[in-house]
Amino acid sequence: MSQKEQFYYDNEIVRKFALASIVFGFIGMLVGLWIALELIFPSLNLNLPFTTFGRIRPLHTNAVIFAFVGNAIFAGVYYSIQRLLKTRLFSDVLSNIHFWGWQLIILAAAITLPLGITSSYEYAELEWPIDIAIAVIWVIFGINMIGTMIKRREAHLYVAIWFYIATWVTVTLLHVVNNLEVPYSWIKSYPLFAGVQAALVQWWYGHNAVAFFLTTPYLGLMYYFLPKAANRPVYSYRLSIIHFWSLIFLYIWAGPHHLLYSTLPDWAQSLGTVFSLMLIAPSWGGMLNGLLTLRGAWDRVANDPILKFMVVAVTAYGMSTFEGPMLSIKSINAISHFTDWTIAHVHIGTLGWNGFLTFGVFYWMLPRIFGTKLHSVKLANTHFWIGTLGILFYSIPLYWAAWTQNLMWEQFTPDGRLTHSEFIQTVTQILPMYRMRAIGATLYFTGLLIFMYNIFVTMKNGKIVKNELAEAAPRDNKKSYTGETAHRLLERKPIRFTVWALVAVAIGGMIEIIPMLFVDNEVPKNLSVEPYTPLELTGRDIFIREGCVGCHSQMIRPFRSEVERYDPDNKEYSKSWEYIYDRPFLWGSKRTGPDLHREGLKTTGTESWHFGHMYDPRSMIGQSIMPAYPWLYTKTIDESTLKHKINVLRMLGTPYPEGYEDIASEDLHAQAKQVVAALKSQLDEKDFPAEVDINNLENLEIIALIAYLKDLGTDIIPKDKK
């Protein structure tokens, strides 16, 4: 037995990340509660642009995913790898750069998203300068983690660490590929891919962001902290190895299930479904492995809130990984997609799996690094029950709402017309469910407050053990395998492992991306796709800024009920060629309002209708829950980047003629004048809101937005009929 070495674990960095996670969890969930209430009381945005649903929904998702869960991952990873590898972290400096860098990124997100600076891609909303910062900080995290592995004292890498490495590798790959974009200003950009291709890449990312940010790192945490909390080894280490490899191998292939019934080739959609179904096996293997770890200790579970949190978390993991594959079956997806089902599904995952595991881990870990006991086990139990009720009250009403609303969307009268032809009827019907959901959210949030109180008192009672003394034997260097010293061989192991993980996910990634080549974008002979005019383009960028895509899809699926509702005159569903100039694509994932892909063909959608509707939706549709957008009626169009926009889009393939950037502004004003003329012919002067400057109408943002809405879907009409 060799001499033991003494060293110190860095607990301070763990404390920092954990605190950040708790504080941002509070903010992120508060914003979540707020937007849930905005759907019931649309005026809750207080008439401010910064707090409208479209802008702060991404604030909520980014805050809970990257700030709450993200910081919790870093806290848990840094706590566990030091102990699993029997060494201090690689570099205190890198740890701190990682910490402060990540918080700065969160701050940047918290500022830019309410300002409407967004790429509009779900979970990848942040714009290019922040994307670069994320890449840099993420690499620093990687260096720090792999560096720690290289200086480790323990020869072997426990399975939790495999999950951490896979997380790091895959998130790097996803982040880079999905954020390929060309800046047109110091803060804004257009994406490299357009239309269907863009959708495929984005959902390859979106799916795997869930897989490799919300799942694999948390599985790593489960494999470390569950045995710790239960004080017994994992049920089957063999199973955990199989769990790991099959999960990371399969997960990355399943992304096309987000695009069923879209214009993706059939076989690619089917592949997505098959791989999604196969995912059930490893996921459930993992869940059972977690639950069976507690076999023979169930009496302890009854008394220990930490174990209870973990059991519900692992069960929620099992439930959502069963439901996910089910949702990728086409016939079920036809019902669930675009409804609140998706929202319910992700909240089983986030509130149950991520939230509860975080609570369990923090209740277990934080008292330890503060050298004390948890302040109140009773309060933790209360938290557990309130939180569990919260999850139920959150999700069950939403499943109900989804089912109800979908049935209403599809219902026809005997003489073949839509029973609920007004979309708003289907919204009003589910509002009671939205109220229940808000109650569920409030319960969960109350639990969070109890948690925070309990943890903060615990911290006050104890004192942080910034550097915790530990000892372990140095890594065994004596044995020599292949002529090379064992030392060097082992040093290379983490790197070799990293490379293998990369190979596994890259194969899957390629197989997913290759179908892009087969998407048929060919425009039919008698039709043509007009690039957006400068005014429409401006309107589209306003649409993006306001986050309208958070409530409105632009993807009519090939169902009778959809073409009947959204394109009653032509009965055409959405075709892939219609999107070829869409940068970014705006298909959306949730229809809180109606699909807008053929909005321009709506005969009732006159200039004045939109003008009145956007100013105050309830003046047109009494029960509407859409926010009002009065600021569009005073803000003037920003033309400063118009030239760059045209240039960037042309470079990416939109056929604007050479030199068009110089006359784009003229074109913009010519078209604005037409919209204004139409508006004035439909409205009396006294009908304009008082704050609107009638002489300056053509420069107002609302004019651009109307031009965009009026253009939507018009390419489906043959030129000679327009």
Binding site: F249, K466, L469, L517
Partner: protein, 64 residues
């Protein structure tokens, strides 16, 4: 150009290939896992539990 080429080719294999790759991969993993030594598996499973007794509470250091 590449599109024309790909379209003319029979692409059904594209759907089969991933399955074959995965099944092969899965079988290799299973074989390796089944063949690993029980003593090694036990050691690995117990790794997280090792450090608990290594630090007597009295040696906890605050501020350093």
């Amino acid at each position: 150009m590449y599109k024309k080429l790909l379209e003319s080719a029979d692409i059904e294999w594209m759907a089969i290939l991933p399955l074959i790759i995965f099944v092969t991969f899965f079988v290799v993993v299973i074989i390796r896992v089944v063949r690993s030594k029980q003593s090694f598996i036990d050691k690995m499973a117990n790794l997280p539990l090792e450090d608990d007794d290594s630090v007597p509470a009295s040696s906890l250091e605050s501020d350093n």
